[in-house]
């Protein structure tokens, strides 16, 4: 049967266009139930034993995904109408609904009612599209009732009017709440149902109106106020309608951009808008006007008078100890909400925010106010946190509670729960449903619980969710793509491969590394030159484009390394065995072979797939020991020495060209093998062997980058590192002025030279500190598709290389997989998949890689931070620290031994109140003008773990009074610092790392006088269990 | 030799495989493609017992064949011959000597626009078709210029039908009721002449309708027209 769908559309030019599309109706669409005799057996999805079948409407799909995702909700019929509407209105919800429908674990059946001969309906005259769709869903429900008479079919809809009509048509219809109550077998369902916003269709079955203002904690304590006030107080300004916003932006009255919250408060924000030219500061609860971090908002600039008032309010805050809240009356009420300003004295602590604009009263900042929200970016995965401690209500009763997110840049969330007592002391996940203008807090609903607060596994889970890292096990479809173990090379693997099994190949990795993706060899050639080979695990031999495994790997994009755990990008058999270039076994590789002169000049290069057999899988320490042991003259050791000498030449040459030697204070944890608790933290040692491997990998990456770009100028995946803006160098220059060295950042070469010159006689660690600071000035290195930007932007600043890419770690990075495919295609080994030829699609996946890479780094750092906390929890340690920066509000110190950094409290005994913090001179002065500390000075600090509101823990650093300073300890500390210092100039860790830093900076950018954790761990190299190659992540 | 329609054929249909021995006589609409004979246009596939195979199609355009009697319009006048439009892809040539008793001295005086009834003497595909206005023995036999009357066009298949025996019903019915002269060219030109112009007009209007009328219908139509005349 054929229907023509016709509608009229307005064209860009303003003309009116009639669009006619065909619409075929079919008779081969089945009900998906085995109870239906006419249903095709292949379409069976709904269980015959189900208590009832549910049919959902669009509102449910849009707003109640958590309810639908709950395992207790099953045997659901999703009409095609719902999917289509959902796709048009909210693609995130659509993706989730689709995932449910395709999941084999759930019984969600898609009924294409729009294409079914008996359920297709045409809009009646004067019927709105919405009403028509509602009717279509009702017709579909009625069809199910007729088709399967023995089974109850329930229509779930939030729309009371729709329910009324359904009942009139003889269809049983329920709201989610009513249905959840019906399900006595699963009481949790009631909580999982999202809150119906007043703005939406009213729900006559909701027995509790959720109103943040009315049911806020204070009023619960004083029930005499009554649960509801007769008249709702308007707390926030209404958002402008979209049309007005668009017009305002067009006219230049409003500015549009993503809003970023300060790391310490949900009511301190910055909006970066191109139209405004610089970041607009949004200050205070009212001005932020219900925007959440990441939303795209429209901002109106404040007049100077308004701005002054706002600044004044901000300035008042610290005295009140109350808040980032412009509402005096609210602030007092919310004081115990755990809003993050209580430790506002512990001011800005991270050095991340090098371009931090201080929020000082009366500063000339552009202030603004959110007037409209263009796009919400609420996390669908939810926010981790815990219920705020309140007096528990009656058991099992539904009660309204406040939820305190782990991240302080999100506000408290009001939610309704029946299981308050089971949830207290637990970390839970909550999703935001809405935020009305008369509600102090956003309203959300419970999704699931993670575990006990403070438990290491729970907190690890939290940091993984917060960084959006997928920890779910690989699906059966993914595992089906993995060849069975034990695996060995088959005849069919050989064609097109060179036999390198006899070559003296070895790998050098961190100790305990299981995913070895690179190996090296060198051997003399008759001509007096050397053949140098870099062999990379041939992951793409197993990872075919378009397979479920490929899609999963592309989505994950990177392996995430936590201190005690590794979250793999590829299934374990591939990661640890089949692809891993382990010693003594034959493995498939993708090799880059150079002919080099003894002076490390490449004469020629070629690429080939190969079969290798690594002679030895060494750790850095083992490799170093072999090279240093003069008695050894075996093939491998001689080769390592040769490689090392060549690497040194290449390295020197690189620095000559302006590559930066930067430093980052890596530490590693020593773990208790039983409890997996950290026993010690130590500075990570960088050896020549590390640098040798790094140098060879850099060379391979650069060589491959050049090759793939020549072959695929439009769709190569490269990695660029932008030149930092001059203002980013400002803190470094300031430190230089104070400490007496010059920083010239006109070029990377000039910067490298001035960093080399920044020495202080007798202070071996000084140069390293300067380099650590320089690291913070760098931008984030990014993947990009060569077709999407100009060749002038391909440059890699930190490496001073015109081209760079990632080729050497395909087991743990998807970018390398893409590059492997490009290289293989350029050599005509395997054709390039269609998806890889599209420059725009590649840019999108590069965006995902950048985001995942960043998230993985953040998670790794958060994990290190967590372990630092665990480490310090059991100990009170006094250690040497260096002053890294003096800010108007305090000093920031860095503890080299533990790689921690933060604002240090100055004890009363040192006369904290009277000290003067001179930012210009980077010095702390006594009132009489004598200097106590200046930048880079050594101090002693004591680290303790403190718990703040919302069960957030942080590390507190307290200065130890100089007068009680033990000179012998000082000497000890100095000695400890020396080994690191020896290698310091060479301790090049990567701009990427640095870049990660700067990314963090942009997140925290401008965090004012209060900051989340008073300690941010710089970087931690995780211990053996998850040994990794982060230092090579350039 | 009675044409016996076997079936309806579409282009590309395989008719017969070439036999090992024996003879197949191929007519219009049949084409040899490798070892097969295929039809090359839609129509009725006809065979005779003598092994002749052809496709009787209905088409508007005429492809000349030797021996066909055609009606043509003089379009050109040269010293040696006339150019005649016979509804074929090409203009046919009619030699001035191709008339009964014509000599170099006494040549027929035809003008551009005159209608002639002629016989195709050459219809090779590489040269223009040639006509002559005599029968094989050189007699006039009704060929030559046609004066007066009116001509109309029809499909070639209908023209063939008008020429066939027994006469189609419409023609015999008209012949019974009215008096007129008729010349049918296989090229789809038909000339009607009658002493009374009304008769000529009636015949030219009625005859083409007869292509798709059954015998009874044709008789009815003629009856109605004739009765309306009186």
């Amino acid at each position: 049967m054929l229907q023509n769908k016709s509608f009229v559309r307005k064209t860009k030019k303003g003309g009116v266009l009639k669009v006619v599309n065909q619409h075929y109706l079919r008779d081969d669409i089945y009900s998906g139930s085995s109870l239906d005799p006419d249903c095709d057996a292949e379409a069976y999805k709904l269980s015959a034993d189900a208590a009832h079948y549910l049919v959902i409407d669009t509102n449910l799909a849009l707003h109640q995904m958590d309810f639908l995702e709950h395992p207790a909700v099953d045997d659901v019929v999703v009409p095609g109408t719902v999917l289509e509407e959902c796709r048009k209105r909210n693609s995130a919800a659509y993706q989730r609904l689709r995932a449910l429908c395709s999941s084999s674990a759930r019984r969600f059946y898609v009924f294409s009612n729009e294409h079914h001969r008996e359920t297709y309906i045409q809009a009646q005259p004067a019927e709105s599209p919405n009403d028509r769709n509602d009717r279509a869903i009702r017709v579909a429900t009625a069809w199910y009732m007729k088709r399967i008479p023995g089974k109850e079919v329930i229509l779930l809809t939030a729309d009371a009017d729709n329910r009324r009509k359904a009942v009139a048509e003889g269809v049983r219809a329920l709201s989610v709440q009513a249905y959840a109550r019906l399900r006595t077998d699963c009481p949790e369902l009631v909580d999982v149902g999202a809150v119906v916003m007043r703005g939406g269709q009213d729900d006559d079955e909701t027995d509790m109106v959720i109103d943040g203002a009315a049911s806020n904690g204070r009023q619960q304590q004083q029930p005499s106020d009554g649960p509801r006030q007769a008249k709702r107080r308007r707390i926030y300004d209404e958002h402008m309608p979209m049309s007005e916003v668009t017009a305002g932006i067009k006219a230049g009255r409003l500015h549009q951009g993503p809003i970023r919250m300060s790391r310490s408060s949900a009511f301190q924000a910055w909006v970066s808008s191109e139209s405004a030219g610089e970041d607009i500061q949004v200050q205070g609860r009212e001005a932020v006007n219900r925007a959440l971090d990441g939303d795209i908002v429209a901002v109106r600039l404040l007049t100077p008078a308004e701005a002054a008032a706002a600044s004044k309010a901000a300035a008042r805050r610290p005295q009140k100890g109350g808040g980032a809240d412009a509402h005096p009356e609210e602030a007092s009420g919310d004081e115990d909400d755990g809003e993050p300003w209580e430790d506002s004295r512990v001011a800005e602590v991270t050095m991340d925010d090098v371009d931090e604009k201080e929020v000082t009263p009366g500063s000339e900042r552009v202030m603004g106010r959110v007037v409209g929200i263009i796009r919400r970016n609420w996390r669908t995965r939810g926010y981790c946190g815990s219920l705020k401690d309140e007096e528990a209500g009656k058991r099992g009763r539904q009660q309204s509670r406040l939820f305190c997110p782990v991240e302080r840049r999100f506000p408290l969330i009001r939610l309704v729960t029946r299981q308050a007592e089971t949830l207290s002391g637990q970390r839970i996940v909550v999703v935001v449903d809405g935020w009305e203008a008369d509600s102090l807090h956003p309203v959300g609903h419970y999704v699931r619980k993670l575990g006990t607060i403070g438990d290491k596994d729970t907190e690890t889970e939290v940091l993984l969710i917060e960084n959006d890292i997928n920890t779910s096990p690989f699906t059966p479809g993914v595992h089906a793509c993995v060849p069975p173990l034990p695996w060995s090379i088959q005849k069919s693997d050989w064609p097109g491969r060179e036999d390198f099994r006899e070559l003296p190949i070895c790998s050098v990795d961190p100790p305990g590394c299981r995913d070895i993706d690179d190996a090296l060899h060198v051997r003399p050639l008759p001509s007096g030159n050397f053949e140098v080979g870099v062999h990379i695990a041939d992951v793409t031999h197993f990872l075919k484009p378009g397979t479920p495994m490929d899609e999963e790997a592309a989505a994950r994009s990177t392996t995430t390394y936590l201190v005690q755990r590794r979250i793999d990008m590829l299934p374990k058999p591939l990661t640890e065995d089949i692809c891993s270039l382990r010693g003594g076994v034959e493995r498939l590789a993708f090799s880059v072979i150079w002919e080099m002169t003894p002076q490390a000049d490449a004469v020629s290069v070629r690429f080939t797939k190969s079969v290798i057999c690594s002679k030895a899988a060494l750790s850095y320490a083992e490799a170093q020991a072999r090279m240093d042991d003069e008695r050894l003259h075996d093939e491998i050791t001689v080769g390592l020495r040769r490689l090392n000498s060549m690497a040194k030449i290449m390295r020197a040459r690189r620095f000559d060209q302006g590559a930066l030697a930067l430093a980052s204070p890596e530490v590693k944890f020593e773990m208790d093998t039983e409890t997996l608790d950290p026993l010690d933290v130590a500075v990570y040692q960088i050896r020549e062997a590390n640098q040798m491997v790094e140098e060879m990998m850099l060379l391979a990456n650069v060589t491959v980058a050049e090759h793939i770009l020549a072959a695929f100028p439009a769709c190569s995946l490269l990695r660029s590192h932008a030149t930092p803006a001059p203002k980013r160098f400002q803190p470094l220059v300031q430190a230089g002025v104070a400490a007496g060295f010059d920083i010239d950042f006109s070029s990377s070469k000039a910067l490298a030279v001035s960093l080399d010159k920044a020495e202080r006689p007798g202070d071996g660690y000084f140069n390293r500190l300067v380099r650590i600071m320089a690291t913070r000035c760098m931008m984030q290195a990014l993947y990009f598709s060569s077709g999407t930007c100009a060749p002038s932007e391909y440059h890699h600043y930190g490496l001073a290389a015109p081209l760079y890419t990632h080729f050497t770690s395909p087991i743990r990075r998807y970018a390398d997989v893409v590059v492997h495919r490009l290289l293989a295609a350029s050599l005509r080994i395997t054709p390039l998949p269609e998806s890889a030829r599209d420059s725009q699609a590649l840019q999108r996946s590069a965006g995902n890689m950048n985001m995942r890479h960043r998230n993985a780094q953040m998670a790794g750092r958060a994990s290190a931070e967590l372990h630092t906390l665990i480490f310090f929890k059991a100990r009170a340690i006094v250690s040497e620290a260096r002053v890294l920066r003096v800010r108007p509000t305090g000093i920031i110190v860095f503890v080299p031994q533990y790689g921690i950094e933060g604002q240090a409290k100055i004890p009363e005994s040192m006369g904290e109140a009277s000290l003067i913090f001179n930012e210009e001179k980077q010095a702390v002065l006594r009132p009489d003008g004598t200097i106590i500390f200046t930048i880079f000075d050594s101090v002693q600090i004591k680290a303790t773990v403190e718990e703040t509101q919302g069960h957030r823990r942080h590390l507190e650093l307290t200065l130890v009074d100089k007068s009680r300073w033990n000179p012998s300890r000082q000497a000890h500390a100095a000695v400890r610092a020396v080994p690191a210092a020896q290698t310091a100039p060479a301790a090049q860790t990567a701009p990427a790392r640095l870049a990660a830093r700067t990314l963090a900076a942009s997140v925290v950018k401008g965090a004012p006088a209060a900051s989340l954790a008073s300690v941010v761990l710089i970087v931690a190299v995780p211990p053996a269990a998850t040994a990794r190659h982060e230092s090579r992540d350039i | 030799m009675v044409a016996k329609p076997v079936r309806i054929a579409a282009p590309g249909d395989s008719v017969v495989d070439l036999p090992e021995k024996g003879e197949v006589r191929v007519g219009t609409g049949i084409h040899q493609e490798g070892n097969h004979l295929i039809t090359c246009r839609p129509g009725l596939l006809c065979t005779t017992q003598s092994g002749k195979v052809w496709v009787a199609g209905r088409q508007k355009r005429y492809i000349p064949q030797v021996g066909d009697c055609v009606l043509g319009v003089i379009t050109d006048k040269h010293s040696e011959n006339y150019g005649v439009d016979i509804n074929a892809p090409f203009v046919a040539s009619l030699p001035v000597l191709g008339f009964e008793g014509a000599t170099r001295r006494s040549r027929p005086n035809l003008q551009v626009g005159d209608l002639v009834y002629a016989r195709v003497t050459a219809a090779d595909r590489d040269v223009d078709p040639e006509l002559v206005c005599t029968d094989a023995s050189g007699k006039g036999a009704g060929f030559g210029a046609l004066a007066g009357g009116q001509a109309f066009r029809c499909t070639t298949s209908f023209a063939a039908k008008l020429m066939s025996q027994p006469q189609p019903a419409i023609l015999s019915a008209l012949g019974k009721a009215l008096q007129f002269e008729l010349a049918v060219g296989l090229n789809g030109h038909v000339w009607v002449h009658s002493p009374k112009p009304t008769t000529t007009i009636i015949v030219t209007n009625t005859l083409p309708k007869g292509e798709f009328l059954s015998d009874a219908q044709a008789e009815l139509v003629v009856k109605r027209i004739v009765s309306s005349m009186q």
């Binding site: 599309n21 294409h115 269609e834 030829r837 | 579409a10 090359c40 199609g57 892809p89 590489d126």
Partner: protein, 243 residues
Amino acid sequence: MEYVNPEGLRQDGRRPKELRQLGCELGVLAKAAGSATFEMGNTKVLAAVYGPHEASNRSAAASGATVHCDYAMAPFSTGERRKQGRTDRRSTEISAVIRNTLEQTIITELLPNSQIDIHVQVLQADGGTRCACINAALLALAEAGIPLRDMVAACAAGYLDETALLDLNYIEDSGGGPDISVALHPQFDRVVLLQMDNRLPLETFETVVELAIKGCKAVASYMRGQLLEHTRMLASARGFDKL
């Protein structure tokens, strides 16, 4: 844009390997030697054949008839009224494609020194016009009784959402994926036209072409049926009602 949903239905409700509804009519113009309309879904084209008549360039047609083809989109054929532009590159290209396909089909050597004019007009465009034009032109040629080696049927297939799709409509056509037009002599299984304006991996290409060929066969059998029906209708009207 989702061109094939996980239920295996396309936007208009077809499955990936289904054609749109076909329709055709023969002998729609009295003056032309042969004429036909052809519909594939909402795409409707009109073809008229004039000739064979004397070639305007006889030397070029010495060995066989020349085929002239003229493709045009009616101004009202698309949603937005288009300006009458006869000589745009697309029309020229499609004209050449149709001519080329039909030249291989007409037994031109039977008609030396002559010329066949084919005019194809798109009355309504909804994707796959070039295939519909070839089909319409073929029917018009058959109706004109011009000797043909075989029927020709054309059909397009594309590749979107990692699925090979038969007979793309306009929405799918503008999806940016590859679009392969194939014309086939069904009796001889001879591909006479294969056109693609995109890149496609070889394996995918083969499956898509395979699908297009299947589509062509389906179209051919439909066209053949209609042609036979038309002939039968004419024959029975002329009294051959025994067939």
